[in-house]
Symmetry: C2
Subunit: 104 residues, 2 copies
Amino acid sequence: MSSPDKVFEALASTTRRKILAYLSEGPLTAGAVAERFDVSQPAISKHLSVLEAADLIWKKRDGQFVNYGMKADNLGGTLAKFMQEVCPPSRALKAERRAENDND
Amino acid sequence: MSSPDKVFEALASTTRRKILAYLSEGPLTAGAVAERFDVSQPAISKHLSVLEAADLIWKKRDGQFVNYGMKADNLGGTLAKFMQEVCPPSRALKAERRAENDND
DNA sequence: TCACCTTTTAACTTATTTGTTATATATTTA
DNA sequence: TAAATATATAACAAATAAGTTAAAAGGTGA
């Protein structure tokens, strides 16, 4: 399981959000990800491990290559839960539901 | 208008996410927010200005107090847009819609 | 005006993040 | 085995973030 803290920390970097956007179109090797950015390969490697620590991506070695791909569940789940906690409209819905249940 | 960059940066801090959760229940003065945390009041003041720079909260002086409150639109909008860009299910829906439009 | 209260800003310290280059580890292929 | 390729790790520098205390700014009311 992964903490929301790690997810939000991972999303704090523009580069990492872009990596997620690339991976959302399909898996890529570490090198293919790095090609798409203007920073060094080791820098991208570190970004990938931050994303992995947040459980936002998976990793699978394939010979000399390492493939990375999105794990959308955790991203969607964490953001959805946060919105529920914090966004007034969903808070209102929750309060409504509570009220209904109290009437039972 | 506020950049997604600033929003995600603002959300990267657990303390700031908790501040948003408090404010989602209603406006509070700077002091009332600070009371709820174990850090100094100036530290909270800085967190509030990060949230304000991200356009996630509003601020209104009332005499010697300063009230802060949530601006849910920008938070919801930024997160929804990001999910649309990155989450495979919504990406699939977008592709579908494109395909439909191509048939017109 | 003066004392007081609330909040922000300044100056500073420490920890973390992000990047770099050089090196190590895995793997394939000649 | 040796050379080449792909990726990760180590060691370091620079920038940023987050906290602290002290002081300033804004506002109230005797």
